[in-house]
């Protein structure tokens, strides 16, 4: 998993709680990397898994809620790091439409082997979009958070319903504009 996800998560903990809390979480998680993350690095998924487990334990919040909140925060980080990607789109749906061939290309530049989730537009109208999502990590709640933050960025409001498909790791987002 891309380093910026880890650095953003640590940053969020430091900002929204405290340095001490962030430090505690990293220490308790007993990470192979000892929490020394860089945004351009690439780290095993198990590392974030461990951090999230410690967090749910410490905060008492469900994992999905944690991921959603992190998604909202992560959008801000990504938006400032990759401003030019966002500037090409004017609406949420436009951005989602080009997610795979635009944003993910940036990731592939540094990590040609990166295991990225896949987004496919199945259906699109002016106010509704059905978006296919495939991820072996099943981080749909993170994606949902990202979407909400993006909608805010484009000054739009959305309702999202997640549907788990029969095929493993396959999901569908039903996104409606409010």
């Amino acid at each position: 998993m891309l380093g910026i996800v880890f650095t953003s998560l640590v940053e969020m903990l430091e900002e929204q709680v405290s340095f001490e809390f962030a430090d505690e979480v990293l220490q308790e998680a007993n990470l192979t990397s000892h929490g020394a993350f860089t945004s351009v690095g690439y780290y095993p998924f198990e590392e974030i898994d461990k951090i999230l487990t410690v967090l749910t334990h410490k905060t008492g919040k469900p994992l999905e809620q944690l991921l959603f909140e992190f998604g909202v925060y992560l959008f801000g980080c990504l938006a400032s790091a990759h401003e030019q990607v966002l500037s090409r789109a004017h609406t949420l749906f436009d951005m989602l439409e080009h997610l795979d061939d635009d944003i993910h290309v940036q990731v592939k530049k540094l990590y040609p082997d990166a295991d990225l989730p896949k987004f496919t537009v199945i259906e699109r109208t002016d106010a509704y979009m059905r978006l296919g999502y495939y991820s072996t990590r099943e981080l749909y709640a993170l994606a949902e958070g990202l979407m909400h933050a993006a909608a805010v960025h484009f000054e739009q409001a959305i309702n999202v319903v997640v549907e788990r498909k029969e095929k493993p790791y396959h999901f569908e987002f039903h996104i409606s504009l409010k």
């Binding site: 220490q27 990397s33 000892h34 020394a36 993350f37 860089t38 351009v40 690095g41």
Partner: protein
């Protein structure tokens, strides 16, 4: 205090941990940066090499790269070289290029270009002539639209271009060849090395009566041929073959053709193909068949003639087949001819012919007319008894034929001589002579008899029947043959012919004219021979006319006796009239002895003939007295220079001078010159130099039967 100290120490260790994490993260980022930049550098180098390789490939295939962008409307053409930095770039607007394009190609170029730019066509490909220095060169442009605008208009097109002048020239020459092939009137096919038809032209489609070339393509050529086929294995050695065969058409017709086939190998010899040219020879074949028919058939009766007999007997001899020969001479025929005339006589001969056929064809006898009222029947594998029975049955049948002329009953019979091969003679000529002798004996024993040859008969008959009597019979029964020898101009073109008398006697075999002509003259047979020669000449002229629509004049030899006969001019004109031949087509050859005999009478006779329209020629000039005064006495149209005058002129300067003198003199007198005895090529330059009109001799041809002469020249 202790709490404060503890808090401080906690904060310190928190900061230390954060610092450590930052340090580790920084060095990890630096290592990543290092490895990525190395990777990037290597990739860049690799792509540079790939680009150079691409440029080299373009350079090697003599292609240049072009690139057009709508925004600038500039077309950039880059030409690469082997050295990495040496790239020649030409750039300009399409308008600038069009100013150098051949005017005939402008429309095509504009059409293709707008198809790509505005017409939504992705691929661009066209050729045009471009004036580079002084000459136009053929250029081919290929490319693809890379990017289009919102309205579908092309924004960016790239591609390659190549000078294809050489290819175009080759292509044009190929097209020329291909059109020559397809429009040729000679049927032609292209075959694969396995002899399968891969191409054929319209003439071939027409020949095989197909409606479409597809009906021929893919077919093995040999299966179309009937009879001789292409010898595949032999072609690799010979490279070409020519043969006559037949081809089966789509309508199952068989057409005789002449096939010429040649092997072509491609430049690299990786593949080879064959081109076959065919010629429809049906017309030639049917002419040949007709001439063969004519050569072997007797016109009057439709039976075989002497050639047919000789062919059949030679075949029997070759296969060691014994045969019995019946020599048949009609009794009482002369009376019919004399009473009722030639035409009636001819009709009776035809009916005799059919009686003969009825009698002998069923036992596979070969029936021929020997000449006049004489016939010969050859019976292969027949016994003597059977032959005699058959002969008697024939006489019986013939005698039953009722002939009424002017209310008078006439009858025909026959005397038949019989001889067997190889019993009586082992040669064809021998068995013929023996059968003829036996026929004489039959005649002597009374009419309507059959006589079998017995030893010694030939000799004893020969003693009884002198050559004179035999010649009389030959003349009376019109058994003489008239051959033709051609007369040619100095370019070798046939201009005329001389009719020459030949005599093949049953009893005496072939007798030389130097022997029988003096006998004929001594006994006044020469006049009849002269008239028969004239009749033959007239018939031959008709045959030439019928066969090919034109004829060459023929000459005949006329004896002094006949020339001086006051009746002759009338007779000669009458013969010509009855054949509807104009006398100017006949040349009468006479010798100077006529002037020795009676100069005054000679001049009278010659003038009469000239008035009738005949051409007159002085024969054997230079052999006898050759008195020049004869040339003054009478103006001959033609003088035939004797062969003794040109003998050895190629080696003898005196002889040459004399010959040239004679020719000059005759030319001065405006007399046409025919040189006789031109035996070989070495004479030709002298003849051309002396500017003689016509030549005759073995170099051109020997005297031959008319049918053969026609087949050769017409």
């Amino acid at each position: 205090m202790a709490d404060k100290t503890s808090t401080l120490s906690n904060e310190k260790s928190l900061l230390e941990r954060r610092l450590r994490r930052e340090k580790v993260a920084r060095s990890a980022a630096e290592a990543l940066l290092e490895s990525k930049s190395t990777e990037l550098y290597l990739a860049l180098e690799k792509s540079k090499r790939a680009k150079k390789q691409l440029e080299l490939a373009l350079w090697a295939s003599q292609e240049s790269l072009w690139d057009w962008q709508a925004q600038s409307d500039i077309l950039k053409i880059s030409t690469f070289s082997m050295n990495s930095d040496d790239v020649t770039v030409w750039s300009g607007t399409p308008i600038e290029i069009m100013s150098k394009v051949h005017e005939d190609d402008l429309d095509n170029l504009q059409f293709h270009w707008s198809q790509a730019v505005f017409g939504g066509k992705e691929r661009v490909e066209f050729s045009f002539r471009l004036k580079l220095s002084s000459d136009f060169q053929w250029v081919r442009l290929r490319g693809r639209v890379l990017r289009r605008g919102n309205a579908g208009e092309a924004l960016h097109i790239v591609g390659t271009t190549k000078d294809i002048t050489t290819e175009r020239e080759a292509e044009q020459s190929f097209q020329l060849m291909a059109s020559a092939f397809s429009s040729s009137r000679e049927p032609m096919v292209v075959l694969s090395s396995e002899l399968t038809i891969t191409e054929c032209n319209n003439a071939f489609v027409h020949l095989v009566q197909a409606t479409d070339p597809c009906q021929c393509l893919g077919q093995p050529f040999n299966t179309l041929l009937q009879g001789q086929k292409v010898r595949h294995d032999q072609l690799n050695y010979d490279k070409n073959q020519r043969f006559e065969t037949s081809i089966r058409t789509q309508q199952d017709q068989i057409i005789p053709v002449d096939v010429s086939i040649a092997l072509f190998e491609s430049h690299l010899q990786t593949s080879s193909h064959l081109i076959a040219t065919l010629r429809d020879i049906s017309e030639r074949k049917s002419n040949e068949d007709r001439l063969r028919q004519m050569a072997l058939n007797d016109d009057l009766t439709g039976l075989g003639n002497r050639n047919a007999l000789s062919e059949a007997l030679t075949k029997f001899q070759h296969h060691h087949t014994p045969f019995v020969l019946l020599f048949i001479d009609l009794d009482g025929f002369k009376a019919i001819n004399d009473t009722a005339g030639h035409e009636r006589g001819d009709a009776e001969l035809r009916s005799v012919g059919s009686v003969l056929s009825q009698q002998f064809s069923r036992i596979e006898g070969v029936v021929v007319r020997w000449g006049g009222d004489e016939f010969i029947v050859a019976l292969p594998l027949a016994s003597m008894e059977m032959a005699v029975t058959q002969a008697n049955q024939f006489i019986e049948a013939l005698e039953k034929v009722n002939i009424i002329i002017n209310g008078i009953h006439l009858s025909l019979s026959a005397s038949i001589g019989v001889a067997a091969y190889p019993e009586h003679s082992t040669t064809i000529e021998g068995v013929l002579q023996h059968a003829d002798a036996a026929m004489y004996q039959a005649k002597n024993s009374g009419k309507g008899q059959v006589f079998i040859y017995r030893e010694g008969l030939h000799e004893s008959i020969k003693q009884q029947v002198s050559m004179l009597n035999e010649l009389k019979r030959a003349v009376e029964h019109e058994l003489l043959d008239f051959y033709i020898q051609g007369k040619y101009d100095t370019r070798g073109k046939l201009r005329g012919g001389e009719v020459l008398c030949r005599w093949i006697s049953g009893l005496h075999g072939a007798v030389s004219p130097t022997v029988f002509i003096p006998i004929a003259e001594q006994h006044q047979l020469d006049k009849a021979i002269g008239l028969q020669a004239l009749e033959a000449a007239c018939e031959y002229l008709i045959m030439m006319e019928t066969q090919s629509g034109y004829a060459v004049p023929l000459s005949i030899n006329i004896s002094v006796n006949q020339m001086l006969d006051p009746e002759f001019p009338f007779q000669a004109v009458s013969v010509c009239d009855s054949h509807q031949i104009h006398p100017s087509m006949i040349e009468l050859e006479l010798t100077e002895s006529i002037f020795i005999r009676d100069k005054a009478a000679a001049i009278v006779a010659l003038n009469a003939l000239r008035e009738a329209g005949f051409r007159l020629s002085l024969d054997d000039f230079g052999s006898g007295f050759s008195s020049l005064s004869y040339l003054r006495s009478f103006e001959f149209e033609v003088v035939k220079v004797d062969k003794s005058l040109i003998k050895d002129i190629n080696a003898n300067s005196k002889g040459l001078a004399l010959f040239k003198g004679v020719v000059a003199m005759l030319t001065g007198l405006q007399i046409e010159i025919v040189v006789e005895g031109v035996e070989n090529e070495s004479y030709l330059p002298f003849m051309q130099e002396a500017d003689v009109n016509l030549m005759q001799g073995f170099y051109f041809d020997k005297p031959m039967p008319c049918e053969q002469f026609l087949a050769r020249n017409f």
